[in-house]
């Protein structure tokens, strides 16, 4: 287990280097002149030049890149052009709300998706199966911003059940929960569909296998057969999918956080990119990439737990 972990950690180093390069280049390639933005639209060209020099934007790409890498290695991600706060502090302030949003989304949508998929597989062809499939197709096809708007329209405006702007506080407070309800609901809705579909097909496949027949021949009851020998083995591909989807979830969070004015990483990065706030945008990209790497690592660990054949290889 520790071997796997160490290997995964080493493997993530090249990924991180790639992320640094890409993050740096992407921001360079994006339109908009940060010096101009910083100086303001009315500033005379000399002032813009001065600022450009001060920020180091006039130097060669290489020099800028090495300077950037060096600073990142020291934990210094620079200062936001806009707020003039350190990028690190901005990111730290945004990570917690985003993580809360992820947790609030996954904690109900994964069990529900797996449960729905299992039921659909066991009662294949029944009304339950068709309802689950229809629901998941809807979840996959509806754009998330549309789901957000629908939720705001009904739960927020019409019935006034939940607030739909901003964050109410930490997750464990009532206000925090009330504020996170709609964003977590909308994110979860796009998540359930793929999970339910994958679980369904995976369980169907596993239930056809020989060892399930063996389980029946041992005199186990149907629920033991389905849960212990069907679902348990079927979870292996589901975990992969959840890992991949969690990545999309970060993308979905960008939209969701923006629609609900939720102060997380997603909204921070959109703001940074729109206002050509280079250091902050690079910081956001770095954090999102790190999140991907961490999620993948968790998936690998879960893999080794779920499938003993993985560990021994």
């Amino acid at each position: 287990m520790l071997d796997t972990l160490a290997k995964r950690l080493l493997q993530s180093i090249p990924v991180l280097i790639g992320v640094l390069v890409l993050g740096f280049l992407l921001v360079q390639l994006s339109p908009g002149d940060p010096a101009r933005v910083f100086a303001g639209a009315m500033a005379p060209p000399e002032v813009v030049e001065q600022i450009r020099e001060k920020m180091g934007l006039d130097r060669s790409l290489w020099t800028q890149f090495w300077g950037y890498v060096e600073r990142v290695m020291h934990g210094d991600l620079g200062r936001s052009f806009i707020s003039n706060k350190t990028v690190t502090s901005e990111l730290l302030a945004a990570i917690v709300p985003t993580m809360e949003l992820m947790i609030a989304c996954l904690i109900w949508s994964i069990p529900l998706g797996i449960g729905m998929g299992t039921l659909a597989a066991v009662w294949r062809g029944s009304l339950v199966d068709r309802a689950v499939m229809a629901f998941s197709v809807a979840g996959v096809s509806l754009p998330i911003f549309f789901i957000c708007l629908l939720l705001i329209q009904w739960f927020g405006v019409k019935w006034q059940l939940f607030p739909f702007i901003g964050r109410g506080g930490p997750l464990w407070t009532v206000e925090g929960l009330r504020h996170i309800a709609l964003p977590a609901l909308s994110l979860g809705l796009i998540f359930i569909g793929p999970v339910a579909r994958m679980t369904r097909s995976s369980v169907l496949e596993v239930l056809r296998l020989d060892h399930v027949r063996t389980a029946r021949s041992k005199g186990l009851n149907e629920s033991q057969v389905i849960l212990r020998h069907g679902l348990r083995n079927a979870l292996i591909p589901v975990v992969t999918l959840v890992g991949l989807q969690a990545g999309y979830l970060l993308g979905g969070a960008v939209v969701t956080e923006t629609v609900f004015s939720y102060p997380g990483i997603g909204r921070l990065s959109v703001g940074a990119i729109l206002s050509a706030d280079y250091p902050l945008a690079q910081g956001c990209i770095l954090v999102l990439a790190l999140a991907f790497i961490i999620i993948n690592m968790i998936v690998d660990i879960l893999y080794a737990i779920l499938d003993p054949r993985v560990q021994k290889r």
């Binding site: 060892h211 186990l220 499938d307």
Partner: protein
């Protein structure tokens, strides 16, 4: 005297796009405590379906039990409520399957898989179950069972996995062991070991064994009685000795001739011409007629009934009793 297990006139069909195909069409057989019955036939003749039907494991749908009776120790298994049937499965009736590589669940250790069947049949204390599992693994001849109990199936060889399967099947001291091609996927030396193991265990526990196989060599080594199946029907039933010394049905004779012999110098191996008719083809007369060298118009028109030729030796053929020399060139 009533046998431990009696199957009479069992009919099992499978639904496929609206029509029902008969996989098993009136099979009767019986096996007694301490005896081994071989069920022989080529792939697709319905022998595996028969054994699954006894276990109540024919997937329904698409499978349909269309008729007949399966009596185990006086109880009609086909009419048994699911709960009682579950208690029998893995309890008084154990089953081992053809594919040891896939018959065990890869994500649980051998011990866990044995414990599961012990727990399902009432042994709940974990330490007791573990001790019993080690005892079972020792019984089936797995080396250093106390260590191997925590191994996952992928850490064992095919023969070792089949031993674990046998341990699972024997966990609750069954009266009947159904073995569906238990040695087909194993290489020959392991095959012999596994068969020997089953015989030893039978001598020790007095259980009945229903051995499904297509391998006549396996039958000769292990079975007391044999049932030969063809296209969902029993065509010949005899003691092993009688069947081998005096096979009566042309199909059986063909099967015997198809076994390669070291003494005969053959350019080609003998085969039975043609193939098993697919189950959706209705054959009015004897099902073997299209492939039978002796077939007459009567064979093609009328299905021969089972007749007793010599005591204990029954055959469904209009020509019986026949001389083996007629059919083998």
């Amino acid at each position: 005297m009533t046998a431990l297990l009696t199957v009479s006139d069992l009919q099992v069909g499978f639904q496929d796009r609206g029509r029902i195909m008969r996989a098993v069409d009136g099979v009767s057989l019986s096996v007694d405590r301490g005896r081994t019955l071989g069920v022989v036939g080529e792939s697709g003749c319905g022998k595996s379906v028969t054994s699954l039907a006894i276990m109540g494991l024919v997937p329904q749908p698409p499978g349909v039990i269309q008729g007949g009776e399966i009596t185990f120790d006086g109880k009609n298994l086909l009419a048994l409520p699911p709960k009682e049937m579950r208690a029998l499965r893995g309890g008084r009736i154990g089953m081992i399957f053809q594919e040891p590589m896939t018959s065990l669940n890869p994500v649980y250790t051998c011990g866990e898989q044995i414990n599961e069947t012990l727990r399902a049949h009432g042994m709940s204390a974990p330490d007791k179950a573990r001790a019993r599992a080690i005892e079972l693994l020792d019984l089936v001849g797995l080396p250093s069972p106390a260590k191997r109990i925590d191994d996952y199936p992928h850490q064992l060889s095919g023969g070792q996995r089949q031993r674990v399967m046998i341990a699972i099947a024997l966990a609750n001291d069954p009266d009947l062991l159904i073995a569906d091609e238990p040695t087909t996927a194993l290489d020959v030396t392991i095959q012999a070991q596994i068969l020997q193991l089953m015989k030893d265990l039978q001598n020790r526990t007095g259980m009945a064994i229903l051995l499904v196989t297509h391998d006549l060599g396996v039958v000769a080594e292990t079975c007391d009685d044999v049932v030969v199946m063809y296209a969902g029907l029993v065509v010949e039933r005899a003691s092993t000795a009688s069947l081998y010394s005096d096979p009566q049905h042309p199909y059986t004779i063909g099967l015997m001739a198809a076994v390669p012999r070291i003494t005969a110098k053959a350019e080609r191996l003998d085969t039975i011409d043609g193939t098993l008719p697919p189950p959706w083809v209705q054959i009015p007369g004897c099902r073997f007629a299209p492939r039978c060298p002796l077939a007459t118009d009567k064979c093609r028109a009328e299905q021969p009934p089972m007749r007793e030729i010599t005591p204990g030796h029954q055959v469904a053929c209009w020509f019986a009793p026949i001389d083996e020399r007629i059919t083998t060139p």
